[in-house]
Symmetry: D2
Subunit: 177 residues, 4 copies
């Protein structure tokens, strides 16, 4: 949920109009936790992006972005996965639309564990197994795979912005790993 | 998802601004299926509203409405339940934020089973046990309780607008009744 | 949940001991609904087995079977999928252990929509995308793929035994198709 | 999942027969995380039992127990809640049968995070809001309510046996608190 992401998918709105909408309406997002699974479907690693934020700081991030007007949630998920992981990542978006949780990003810190200074965003969160080769694209500098153990390290979790460490831990709990 | 509902909760936007946003962004909604449960938690009946739409036609409907800027999804659910069922309904909103499904209402019919001529709305759907006395409010003319068997009758399902019969059947399947 | 299935995976128990346990304890099962998905993850078809039951009748069935002592639920799912669909089916068992529902098969008809004359079985139900080539094995005579529309046909649903038509409809509702 | 619990609900089996079954079959359990919610449905506290185990040690525990032959999962949940929390606890068992996760307790430590030296048990896990007065019964010595923050304390989590601290953290993640 970095500045850079949303610049790229402003869709049918000019930046100015989008800014106006952001002060008035909750904006619909998707969050994806990319995972590698073994042939039994057990999660062996979790992918985190390294991203340069608009504040110049480099942060870890999940795959995340806005749902556009007249776009299916499923298509938005695939678009953001391809944008961040490249066209050969082969993401396996789950067949059912039920998210494992929702994340409510508030412009005011502390209302929920999630925070986005630019807007009130409500995100549908999915775990997405990725089978192909990942090559970070655009503003994503790097994709790194961590084992479920590594990814729980407090120092690593601290590198995630906007409360996404909370969402990552929710995903791991849902996966039972 | 009638015209009347959304007029009432236009929130921080003028009607004109809301109309503009509706042509540009997916709008976040909640849908609630009100149920009565017995002391084992088994669903004994499902509540449907009778509503006068802006086209003058009377239709059955689920409890449904927009999430406002800076409003929690949980608070939006409670606000719409109270608006439609009255202040003594005692709804038991589920403690976990995971919806049982999402419904994607498209302005173009046929993209999904859900259709809303006014807008692209994405709705988080919940089953909500209701323990108190329900008294329809505002544009809701009546609330009627049906058994899970009655509510599956094709003639009754046909009275639901916008594809909400599909969502109702999804709720019943999720409940296992 | 045919006689034939369970004979094959009686595991550590003699047939006689298993019969005794079946009169005393709920038996843990898994049910899998095999699906084909397109590259967006949308379900395009649902697979049903044709099986010869111990009563000599041929019936449609989901992939279904017992969880053995000291076996992971995930491994049981894969074992039954491989047993029924063959070794090249490439099933994608979901990474999270949460079933989309549970099915309670009672020896007495009418307690739930699910019925198994031999036993009280409780089944964890999953939707499993299958990517490879399926070749029915052992007592499964055939695997047929149906579109989500075809599979809802009352004549087809009537060919499923033990209330599995109910479980199939629950799966379709969960998938939103 | 203490020795004492299962002695009480041995059901239709003699202790000896149950011991034999436990060496041969996975045993079906339910786990309940009792919670208090405010009038918005937000979890304000989580209840943990204090129980004397067969080894003489006092341990914290979730509400947990076996599903009997010919018993609905829902009835088993209510029976164990009443047994542990007393007849005036007014548990609100969720209307849908989908558990938020399953816990696989293995007799061999390390296969999963869950361990039960006596048996292979597979448990369906639910969060259950409790509205009435709780009075611990039978082998439950005490019920203590903790805030979601308190319950995450490592010293408290360490008092839970059999890996139930893992299940408790999964419940908190599912609840988004």
């Amino acid at each position: 949920m970095t500045e850079a992401t949303t610049k790229n998918d402003a869709g049918w709105l000019s930046g100015e109009e989008m800014d106006a909408a952001r002060e008035r309406l909750p904006i619909l997002y998707v969050d994806a936790v990319p995972v590698r699974v073994d042939d039994q479907g057990v999660v062996t690693s979790v992918g985190l992006l390294l991203r340069a934020g608009s504040d110049g700081l480099v942060k870890r991030a999940l795959v995340s972005g806005r749902v556009l007007y007249h776009e299916r949630v499923r298509s938005a998920l695939l678009r953001h996965l391809e944008k961040d992981l490249g066209p050969l990542a082969l993401p396996r978006v789950p067949p059912a639309p039920q998210p494992f949780t929702i994340a409510e990003y508030f412009p005011t810190p502390g209302v929920t564990p999630f925070h986005d200074p630019r807007q009130h965003a409500v995100s549908l969160a999915y775990v997405v197994p990725v089978e192909g080769d990942c090559a970070p694209q655009q503003d994503a500098l790097e994709l790194t795979w961590f084992t479920p153990q590594e990814v729980r390290e407090p120092t690593l979790l601290a590198e995630l912005a906007n409360g996404q460490s909370h969402l990552l831990l929710q995903a791991l709990a849902h996966l039972g790993v």
